[in-house]
């Protein structure tokens, strides 16, 4: 039975059938419902081409990407430096870990009104939202790395008179990087949610702004096209995260 199912033709045709059935259902029901409820696939594609041709979509994607990378790169850098420091300073780690756990479990979306109360509405406020969405997953996982570093390893390094610099370069950082990448993969998706949430709740811009703009024009097809682009971005980021993590998983001794 397995051999039939694994043949290339069957595999390809089942994948294709799934996509075609989905597309057909979308086209059929999207065209049947009221125009404020949905839009068929063909209209969405048409609207997508229109939004590309007048440059609106590219502008929105660039705006969202700028916010995403500014906030998320800052979050990854800050979290990995802070996390590494805590891996070395045990006292700091034990002191901080419960609070980090608490903030990791907090839905950061609930902090948006507070960020708005302190920062002026604009890029800085949105940057802070994305930063907070991305920061805690990375920090939480970096800390796991620090916790799993056996004191014996440091003792061995010390007994060979390793300098602090060499200890970081050859033990601490190589040990912790795979954990940072796990956090990066977790945070990548969360930060994308943060981008759209910031664009919705703080001030309209980027793809979140485009969704609101298209909704204001009663164009469901425009909303669907924007969501499709966001999904493609999410898939791409997930894929990059997975590739990076698998690349490093060999180091950690996990081959999942």
């Amino acid at each position: 039975m397995n051999s039939i199912w694994d043949s290339r033709l069957v595999r390809f045709s089942t994948y294709a059938a799934g996509l075609l059935v989905g597309a057909a259902l979308w086209e059929h029901f999207g065209g049947k419902v009221n125009a404020s409820y949905g839009a068929p696939l063909s209209a969405t594609v048409k609207r997508f081409i229109f939004l590309v041709s007048n440059g609106q979509l590219q502008e929105a994607v660039l705006g969202s990407l700028e916010l995403y990378f500014a906030g998320f790169i800052a979050a990854v850098l800050a979290a990995s430096v802070f996390g590494l420091l805590m891996s070395r300073l045990n006292y700091l780690r034990v002191g901080f870990e419960n609070y980090i756990m608490l903030l990791y479990a907090t839905p950061m979306i609930a902090m948006v009104p507070f960020i708005k109360s302190v920062l002026e509405i604009g890029f800085a406020a949105k940057f802070t939202v994305v930063f907070m969405f991305g920061f805690f997953p990375v920090l939480f996982n970096t800390l796991e790395g620090g916790r799993s570093l056996k004191p014996e390893m440091i003792e061995v390094a010390k007994s060979f008179r390793s300098s602090e610099l060499a200890l970081w370069r050859d033990l601490l950082i190589p040990h912790t990087v795979p954990f940072i990448l796990t956090g990066l993969r977790q945070g990548a998706g969360r930060a994308l949610v943060g981008v759209v949430a910031a664009e919705f709740l703080i001030s309209s811009s980027g793809l979140g702004g485009l969704i609101q703009d298209q909704q204001g024009k009663y164009s469901m097809s425009g909303v669907f096209a924007s969501i499709a682009v966001l999904t493609a971005m999410g898939l791409l980021l997930m894929w990059i995260g997975r590739v990076l993590e698998n690349h490093m998983a060999a180091w950690r001794g996990l081959n999942r």
Partner: protein
């Protein structure tokens, strides 16, 4: 590398902050203890927050800070008891405070209730769909594209669409977003788990001519419990965010997300922050319960990484 099951098990004091050494005095032993380190860091965080907000100047008097939140906790949670029995100033128990307290109470019941119901539905449906995807290749190939794509779709982006379908008043949109956030996470993990069913189990089942549904529900699901728990943990975190996003964007009446927005809109940021604390502790509570059940019901399972 094999470590103990669950993240929080290790957080609650497996390794000590500073190794105790003979000859150290009592003071040193207290200062170097784990609990002292935790309290010290807590005090520093609260002080930095308080002083930082005070420094913003008088234009920012409304911004949430520890001194205000401490007062807001009894005012929000039990105002009648606080004003009548503790402060002995029943006249300060104004209708505004009473109304906020009612909204807070109803918000907890409605938000957390919706998350539990949504997670339960996601769990049942996601387990069934996931096990079929994991065990039947045709189902996997038909559905996996959609499960992965909907999982990667930022849930906040679909709120403006879903609100047209379900409206905001009854919490229908919120339930849809919770299901969207929970279902695909559980399905994805369950499918991974069912795909990884140990082949020896399947050989034995085959030798005894087990029915397919016995293999799915009697073997694949129990064997995939660790994956399922990871899926629930993922789903719970996403559902919590999704619920609050939906409440904030659609103004679901009597919900914690809406409570935060309303109080913040009235410059009662300290009261709004109490609701954030509730959400944080709920999030941690889920983690703790999941870790506890991993240790209790799946002692054979050692989490890797």
């Amino acid at each position: 590398m094999t470590t103990d099951a669950g993240a929080t098990t290790r957080i609650s004091g497996s390794s000590t902050a500073v190794r105790a050494q003979p000859g150290h005095g009592l003071l040193w032993r207290i200062v170097s203890s784990d609990i002292f380190a935790k309290i010290l860091v807590g005090v520093v965080i609260v002080m930095v927050w308080q002083i930082g907000m005070d420094r913003l100047g008088s234009n920012f008097d409304y911004v949430a800070r520890p001194s205000g939140v401490v007062q807001a906790i009894p005012v929000t949670i039990a105002p009648e008891w606080y004003f009548v029995n503790v402060l002995k100033t029943p006249e300060a128990y104004t209708p505004v405070i009473r109304a906020a307290h009612e909204r807070f109470k109803n918000g907890i019941v409605s938000t957390i209730g919706a998350i539990f119901i949504g997670l339960f539905i996601s769990l049942v449906a996601g387990t069934v769909v996931g096990v079929l995807m994991g065990r039947i290749k045709a189902v996997d190939r038909l559905l996996s594209f959609y499960v992965i794509a909907f999982y990667a779709m930022p849930m906040v982006a679909i709120v403006p669409v879903v609100v047209n379908w379900f409206g905001s008043a009854g919490g229908g949109t919120r339930m849809a977003i919770i299901l969207f956030a929970g279902f695909f996470s559980i399905t994805m993990n369950m499918a991974d788990g069912a795909r990884a069913t140990p082949p020896e189990y399947l050989d034995v089942a085959k030798a005894y001519r087990a029915k397919p549904w016995d293999v799915w529900f009697g073997i694949a699901i129990p064997a995939a419990m660790p994956y399922l728990l990871a899926g629930i943990r993922l789903a719970a975190g996403r559902a919590l965010v999704g619920a609050v996003i939906a409440e904030m964007l659609t103004g679901t009446p009597n919900s914690l997300g809406n409570f935060i927005l309303l109080e913040a809109g009235n410059l009662r940021y300290d009261e709004a922050f109490v609701a954030v604390l509730v959400l944080s502790f709920f999030g941690v509570g889920i983690e703790v319960v999941l870790n506890w059940s991993t240790r209790t019901f799946l002692p054979w399972y050692r989490r890797e990484g």
